[in-house]
């Protein structure tokens, strides 16, 4: 009896021990980034690996916030928030409409169009990159947020799919009842469906926020004026190995750029985990 109990305790110790050690390596880079943002120049290079700064140098943040060329990170953060909020509203609202159309209305050509939508999820964005760039530059949209925001208002296949999956779980009897009471399709969508799919809308909003916040390629193509840079692009230039003089400030701004992401993760973790588990999509 005793040996079985000992075995079990040993197993528990091994289990947690392994997860703690492996977990330390998983989280080390993030802790290291945060720690480095508080180190002074000498310590960044001399004790590069340490996770505990010998003293907290908040001036890294003050120095970094000043940005470059008279433009502070206040501008970059503001630009990011404008782009991200406008795109997220567009992506989620338009995707909800489209999802309802595909999930609950029956129309000619539905299957074919749905297949087209799924295919676009797998389409490499590189194929569209150059013609889209030419299209947007002909429209005079270079150096504006339009190329980053406007396409968001035309639905996003991943979210359409996610919301459709969620709608599948809502009984059709509700639609039928509303129809008998004289509700048209729009009424069913707005009054019955919309309040019920709120969790799916929240999940979509979170992912939309993340992807737009971290998007680097779009701004790289379309935004050439520093006063319009979002954080991702500003950070890239701020941290160019050839140009960096203040390493502490670079780490400070890198850390700061992750703060909105961390905050959302902490507050909405449930929706993220459920969203990924139910659709099983995307990296």
């Amino acid at each position: 009896m005793k040996s079985i109990k000992q075995k079990r305790i040993l197993g528990t110790i091994l289990y947690h021990g392994f997860i703690w050690i492996f977990g330390f390596f998983m989280i080390y880079p993030i802790l290291w980034l945060i720690a480095s943002s508080f180190k002074d120049e000498a310590e960044i290079f001399q004790k590069s690996y340490s996770l505990i700064p010998s003293s907290l140098h908040f001036e890294n943040y003050i120095q970094g916030w000043k940005g470059f060329g008279d433009i502070t990170f206040a501008t970059f953060f503001k630009n990011s928030f404008v782009i991200v909020i406008l795109s997220t509203i567009g992506q989620v609202a338009s995707s909800a409409l489209v999802a309802y159309g595909f999930a609950r209305v029956k129309f000619a050509g539905q299957k074919l169009l749905f297949a087209c939508m799924i295919v676009t999820m797998l389409l490499p964005s590189q194929v569209l990159m150059i013609p889209q760039y030419i299209l947007f530059s002909k429209l005079g949209w270079i150096n504006s947020f339009k190329p980053l925001v406007v396409p968001s208002y035309f639905g996003y296949p991943f979210f359409i799919f996610l919301i459709m999956q969620f709608m599948d779980g809502i009984p059709r009897e509700l639609d039928e009842a509303a129809r008998i009471d004289g509700c048209n399709q729009w009424g069913i969508f707005a009054r019955i469906m919309l309040p019920l799919i709120v969790p799916a809308l929240i999940t979509s909003s979170i992912f939309s926020f993340y992807w737009k916040w971290q998007d680097f390629f779009g701004p790289l193509l379309y935004i050439k004026k520093p006063n319009l840079y979002p954080v991702s692009l500003a950070l890239k230039l701020f941290s160019d190995p050839a140009a960096v003089t203040d390493w502490g400030a670079m780490f400070a701004m890198s850390t700061l750029s992750l703060v909105p992401v961390f905050l959302i993760f902490i507050f909405f973790q449930k929706y993220i985990v459920e969203g990924i588990s139910t659709t099983g999509l995307k990296a």
């Binding site: 880079p29 029956k106 299209l135």
Partner: protein
């Protein structure tokens, strides 16, 4: 299991749709945002890209038709095209299987109902949530640079005589990018976790009564039951792996000696640094053709993955 359930579900859906009438007006009204966007931002640019791929086009002057010249050059005289293809294949087919293997391994640890698992899950998922950002790319560059943390640890242990840059060394540069990709195994981990929870415990119980050991249970129950999810993940991740750009653009700039020249980065260079827009479009269509093969695989397997098991649980 999955098959039967999904068929039942489909039949149910068919029945209930059958009750209602076709409503073309409402249907197209609801999907119109996507349909219009699909035509303007997807179909039209795709066809335009196909046309450009047969031209010489530098943006400043009008495109000039040169037939198959771009494709011919690519396959006969462009060494960097071959390099980019090789690097991308090596990256994708190393990083993605490793990422999925870690994801499955850790998911199997977390499926046990032990204390602290929710906390562990959060910690292990954290890298994935920030993984695509510029900040992480910058961080990675510093971790593995000549003055980086890795060298700091190694030299303080006395394992390193001279400071080498892992990013600048042709033999290790690609591996730092692979490591970055593997580090972000959080999403497939959560998907596997949801899948593992769907496997009835009774399967394992009867297997262990029959004397099957842990390894047998893994190969005879866990793997087959998870296989649709594994396969789906594999294909989706391979596709997104082919499109990887930010990592090599920020961390290594494709160097040293093109050792980390990702296909997407090469395409970007041709298009937006050398202004060979026609050639870049040809590169894009070749990429599309390669990925079309994987897309076909996804669709052949759609019976398995369209139904999401975790929702039922």
């Amino acid at each position: 299991m999955t098959n039967v359930a999904s068929k039942e579900k489909k039949q149910k859906r068919k029945k209930s749709i059958g009750k209602s009438e076709y409503n073309n007006l409402a249907g197209y009204a609801f999907i119109s945002p996507w349909l219009i966007g699909f035509i303007i931002f997807t179909v039209f640019p795709m066809l335009l890209a196909l046309y450009f791929s047969f031209t010489k086009y530098d943006v400043l002057s009008d495109p000039k038709w040169i037939g198959l010249e771009n494709y011919k050059n690519m396959f006969t005289s462009d060494d960097r095209f071959r390099t980019a293809l090789g690097v991308t294949f090596k990256y994708v087919f190393t990083a993605i299987p490793l990422r999925l293997a870690f994801a499955l391994f850790i998911a199997m640890l977390f499926v046990q109902n032990r204390k602290l698992v929710p906390l562990y899950r959060t910690v292990y998922y954290l890298p994935s949530i920030i993984g695509g950002s510029v900040a992480v790319a910058v961080m990675w560059r510093q971790l593995f640079g000549a003055n980086g943390a890795l060298n700091g640890v190694l030299s303080s242990l006395g394992l390193l005589k001279t400071q080498i840059s892992w990013i600048g060394n042709p033999n290790t540069a690609l591996w730092t990018l692979i490591l970055l990709a593997v580090w972000q195994f959080g999403s497939p981990m959560l998907i596997f976790l949801a899948g593992l929870k769907q496997i009835p415990i009774s399967y394992y119980e009867s297997a262990s009564i029959d004397g099957a050991n842990g390894f047998h249970q893994f190969t005879k129950i866990t793997l087959p039951m998870l296989s649709p999810i594994i396969f789906f993940n594999l294909v989706m991740q391979i596709i997104s792996g082919f499109m990887a750009f930010t990592e090599s653009y920020i961390i290594t700039q494709g160097g040293p000696f093109d050792k980390t020249l990702f296909y997407a980065l090469y395409l970007f260079q041709q298009g937006f640094q050398f202004y060979n827009m026609g050639y870049a479009c040809a590169l894009a269509w070749v990429l599309l053709a390669i990925m079309g093969i994987f897309t076909a695989l996804v669709f052949k397997s759609s019976n398995y993955w369209v139904y999401s098991e975790s929702k039922e649980g």
